[in-house]
C-alpha cells in the first residue's frame, strides 16, 4: 500500500502496484549501480582525479530509478546539477560518467562539462545555474506539444531552487498553454546548507504550483515514485501540467567540499540510513515478496561492482581531450569567422566535435 498527498486532485496515483521479477532485478541493479557510481566518484575525488564541484546523489536513488521506470522512450528529462544518477539511467554508461568527471575524452561531454554537465538523448542535462533548467524544460514541453510527439517533459529541481522566480513564471506558462510537463521537486530537505523550512515559507512544494495540481510522494519508495510518474504522464497528456514532490534525503553533503554535518546532526543522517534507506526498503520488498533470492541479490551486486571497476579504470586511464578542442563547439559550424579570437593574433581554429547533436 502506498501513500500520497494530493493538491487540487480528486484522485491520485495507484496505491496498489504490481512488480515482476524482471522489474525487481532491474530496479535493484539500478539502485545499487547508482549508489556505487557515486561512491566511485567520491573515491576519485578524494584522489584528486576529479576536481571542482561534484554533487553526489547518494541516498536519493529511488527517485531516479522510480521515475525512469515509468518513462517511455519519447519522454524527456531535464535536471539540475546532482545528475550522475539521472545521466546513468538515461543512457550514459558508468564509464562515460566517471570519465567526464576526470576530464577524459571518453567522457559524456568529452571532458568539457564536468560533473554538472552530462547529456544524453532525451536528457537535456545537467545545469549549473539553479532553477534555470525549469524554463528550459517548459520550452521542451512546448516543443513536444507543437510536434505532437506524445512526449512529456520532466523538469527536475530541488527544494532550494523552488524559490527561484522563474519557476513560477514557468508554472503560469505551462498552465496557460496546457503544456505536457511535470515539474518534479526532489525535496531532500536541504538547499546546500539551509534546511527547507529556513528558506521556504511554504515547504509543501507540491502545493507551490497553486493553481497547478500536485502530488506528494515518498521519494524513498521506488514503486511509489513509479506509480506517481505513470499518473503524472497520463495527467500531463490529458489535463496539463502537474507538480510532483519527491520527499527524499541525501547522505552526503551538498558537494564534496561539504561534509554535510554542520547543518544537520549525524544522528539524523544515521536514522534515515537505518530506517528509510531506499535500497534497503526495496531489498526487503524483493525478499519478502519472494521476487528475488538472497543469492540473486548478491549476484546483482557483484555484476554492478564489476561494471563500476571497469568504469573507474577508464576514468583513471583514458586520454584527455587535446588542446585543439579548447575552441571547439563555441558556435555551430556555419559561423562566418571560423576562427576564435584570443591573444597575440593566435586565432584558434574553431570546429564542431560532433556532426549530429542529440536532437533531430
Amino acid at each position: 500500500m502506498l501513500d500520497y498527498k494530493l493538491h487540487k486532485l480528486e484522485m491520485g496515483p495507484d496505491t496498489l502496484v504490481a512488480l515482476t521479477e524482471r522489474e525487481a532485478a532491474l530496479y535493484y541493479r539500478q539502485l545499487v549501480a547508482i549508489r556505487r557510481l557515486e561512491a566511485a566518484a567520491a573515491q576519485l575525488y578524494r584522489e584528486q582525479l576529479v576536481r571542482g564541484f561534484c554533487h553526489l546523489y547518494t541516498g536519493q536513488e529511488a527517485c531516479a530509478v522510480g521515475l525512469c521506470a515509468a518513462l517511455r522512450p519519447q519522454d524527456n528529462l531535464i535536471a539540475g546539477y546532482r545528475i550522475h544518477g539521472w545521466a546513468y539511467l538515461m543512457g550514459v554508461t558508468a564509464a562515460a560518467v566517471l570519465a567526464e568527471l576526470t576530464g577524459r575524452a571518453s567522457g559524456c561531454a568529452q571532458g568539457k562539462g564536468g560533473s554538472m554537465h552530462m547529456y544524453a538523448p532525451n536528457f537535456y542535462g545537467g545545469n549549473g545555474i539553479v532553477g534555470a533548467q525549469i524554463s528550459l524544460g517548459t520550452g521542451i514541453a512546448l516543443a513536444n506539444k507543437y510536434r505532437k510527439n506524445g512526449a512529456v517533459c520532466f523538469a527536475l529541481y530541488g527544494d532550494g531552487a523552488a524559490n527561484q522566480g522563474q519557476i513560477f513564471e514557468c508554472y503560469n506558462m505551462a498552465q496557460l498553454w496546457k503544456l505536457p510537463i511535470v515539474f518534479v521537486c526532489e525535496n531532500n530537505n536541504y538547499g546546500m546548507g539551509t534546511s527547507a523550512w529556513r528558506a521556504s515559507s511554504n515547504t509543501n512544494y507540491y502545493t507551490r504550483g497553486d493553481y497547478l495540481p500536485g502530488v506528494w510522494v515518498d521519494g524513498q519508495d521506488v514503486l511509489a515514485v513509479r506509480s506517481a510518474t505513470r499518473f503524472a504522464i497520463e495527467h500531463a497528456q490529458q489535463r496539463g501540467p502537474l507538480v510532483l514532490e519527491l520527499c527524499t534525503y541525501r547522505y552526503a553533503g551538498h558537494s564534496m567540499s561539504d561534509p554535510g554535518t554542520s547543518y544537520r546532526t549525524r544522528e539524523e543522517v544515521q536514522q534515515v540510513r537505518q530506517r528509510q534507506d531506499a535500497i534497503e526498503r526495496f531489498r526487503k520488498i524483493c525478499l519478502e515478496m519472494s521476487l528475488l533470492t538472497q543469492t540473486q541479490l548478491l549476484g546483482i551486486e557483484r555484476t554492478v561492482r564489476d561494471e563500476m571497476e571497469l568504469a573507474i579504470k577508464a576514468a583513471r586511464t583514458d586520454v584527455e581531450l587535446p588542446l585543439s578542442h579548447l575552441c571547439n563547439d563555441v558556435y555551430a559550424g556555419s559561423y562566418a569567422q571560423l576562427q576564435l579570437r584570443g591573444v597575440l593574433g593566435h586565432n584558434l581554429e574553431h570546429a564542431r566535435s560532433r556532426t549530429e547533436s542529440c536532437h533531430e
Binding site: V130, Q166, S262, L326, L344
Partner: protein, 375 residues
C-alpha cells in the same frame, strides 16, 4: 602564513559551525600549488597605524564588522551569510549584530538584488552578497535597470546610493563554467554604477568601506582565489580607499602593464621576469576601479612609456580591455610606440579541463610583452 595560525591571531570567535563546514575545504588548499599566480603582498609604509595579519576574507569580515558597528541602519544579507558565508566573509557577524541585521535570503538572486535596492531606497545601508559572480545574471535586470538609473530617472529625488553588492568572482583553479566568471565588463557598460575589484586584503577592506559609504550603488567583485591566498598586514582602524583611482604598484619607463584582481599578481611576476630576462622596466598598475576608471593616471603612464599591455581573465571580445584600448589609442596616439596589447581569456566559455590554457598566465603575458617591445 598558514590559515590556522591566522585564525588564532584574530580576536573574533570563529563560529564552530563555519569551522566544521570548511574543514574539508582546508584540505583542498593543497590545490593552491597549482595556481597560475604568485601572490605579491602590499606593504604599508611604516607608521603609527595598528596593523594585524589578515587574509582577504578576514579583512572583508573586519570591514563589514566596522560598517555594521558605525551604521545602525546597515544590513548584510545573501545566501548562507548567516553561518558565516561559503567563503567565511561573514563569520561571527550574525552573533554580534543579530538575525535582524545579518540574515540569509532564499535562493533568489533577482529577489536579493531588488530587495537590496528597495532597502537602499529608504536610505538604509544594504550590503548584499551574490554568492558567485556566475549567478549574478538573474539580478542583472535589477542592477542595470533599477539600481543604476534610480537617481537619474527621478531627477535626484530617489536613489539607492547606500547599496553595495559583494560578489566573489574569478578563476579559482577548478571552478569550470559557473564558478569562475569575471563579469565586470557587463556592468562597466552601465552608467550609474561603480565597479571595483581588490587585489588583496588591504585593498579589499578599504574599498568595501568606501563603497558602503559612497553615495552610488557599488559592486565589489572579490577574486575568490585570493580569499585565503592573499595575506597582508591590514590596518585595524576603519579606513576607506579612494574610489575611481588606480594604484601604480611599480614604476618603470619601458612599458605599462595594467590589470586588476588576481591578474595584478601575474603582472608583477611578469615584470620581474621582464627585468631579469630582457632588462625591461615595467610600470605595473592595478586599475582597482573598473567604473569609472582612472583614465588620467593610465594615460599619463602610457604617454611616459609608449607601450601598454592590458590583461584580464574575462574573454577577449568586449572585455574591459577593449574599452581601455579604444580610449588609450585615442588619447595617446602620437606617443604610442606599439599597438595597445590585450592578453585575456579566450573567446570561449570558461572551460572545465582547459583552465590552465585558458587563463592569461605569465607565459602568455611575457610573450605579448616581448612582441610589443620589439614592435
Amino acid at each position: 602564513m598558514p590559515p590556522d595560525l591566522c585564525d588564532k591571531i584574530i580576536i573574533m570567535k570563529v563560529s564552530s559551525l563555519a569551522r566544521g563546514l570548511f574543514s574539508a575545504i582546508k584540505s583542498n588548499a593543497a590545490s593552491s600549488t597549482r595556481s597560475h599566480f604568485t601572490y605579491y603582498p602590499t606593504k604599508f609604509s611604516p607608521g603609527t597605524r595598528d596593523v594585524q595579519k589578515m587574509n582577504m576574507f578576514q579583512a572583508i569580515n573586519n570591514a563589514m564588522d566596522q560598517a555594521l558597528e558605525q551604521d545602525s541602519s546597515a544590513l548584510l544579507f545573501g545566501e548562507d551569510v548567516g553561518f558565516g558565508g561559503v567563503f567565511r566573509c561573514s563569520v561571527n557577524l550574525r552573533d554580534k549584530y543579530g538575525k535582524d541585521r545579518v540574515f540569509n535570503t532564499p535562493l533568489c538572486e533577482q529577489g536579493i538584488a531588488g530587495f537590496a535596492i528597495g532597502v537602499a531606497n529608504t536610505g538604509a545601508t544594504a550590503i548584499a552578497e551574490i554568492q558567485f559572480a556566475d549567478y549574478i545574471f538573474p539580478s542583472f535586470d535589477q542592477i542595470v535597470n533599477e539600481a543604476a538609473k534610480y537617481r537619474y530617472r527621478s531627477g535626484g529625488l530617489f536613489d539607492c546610493g547606500s547599496l553595495t553588492f559583494r560578489v566573489p568572482c574569478g578563476a579559482v583553479g577548478h571552478g569550470a563554467l559557473y564558478h569562475s566568471q569575471s563579469p565586470e565588463a557587463y556592468f562597466a557598460h552601465t552608467p550609474g554604477l561603480r565597479v571595483v575589484i581588490p587585489r588583496g586584503p588591504i585593498k579589499a577592506k578599504g574599498l568595501l568601506l568606501a563603497c558602503i559609504r559612497d553615495a552610488n550603488p557599488c559592486i565589489m567583485f572579490e577574486p575568490k582565489t585570493l580569499y585565503r591566498a592573499a595575506v597582508e598586514d591590514v590596518p585595524t582602524e576603519a579606513y576607506a580607499e579612494d574610489l575611481g583611482k588606480c594604484d601604480i604598484l611599480r614604476e618603470g619607463k619601458d612599458v605599462t602593464l595594467v590589470g586588476w584582481g588576481t591578474q595584478v599578481h601575474v603582472l608583477l611576476e611578469v615584470a620581474d621576469l621582464a627585468k631579469k630576462q630582457l632588462d625591461i622596466d615595467c610600470e605595473v598598475i592595478d586599475l582597482v576601479s573598473i567604473l569609472p576608471w582612472d583614465t588620467q593616471t593610465i594615460c599619463n603612464s602610457v604617454n611616459k612609456t609608449g607601450r601598454v599591455l592590458i590583461a584580464h581573465e574575462a574573454p577577449f571580445t568586449q572585455g574591459f580591455g577593449s574599452e581601455m584600448a579604444a580610449y588609450i589609442q585615442e588619447k595617446c596616439f602620437l606617443r604610442l610606440e606599439a599597438p595597445v596589447k590585450r592578453v585575456t581569456g579566450w573567446d570561449t566559455p570558461f572551460p572545465h579541463v582547459f583552465e590552465p590554457f585558458y587563463l592569461p598566465d605569465k607565459h602568455r603575458c611575457l610573450a605579448a610583452l616581448k612582441e610589443i617591445i620589439n614592435y
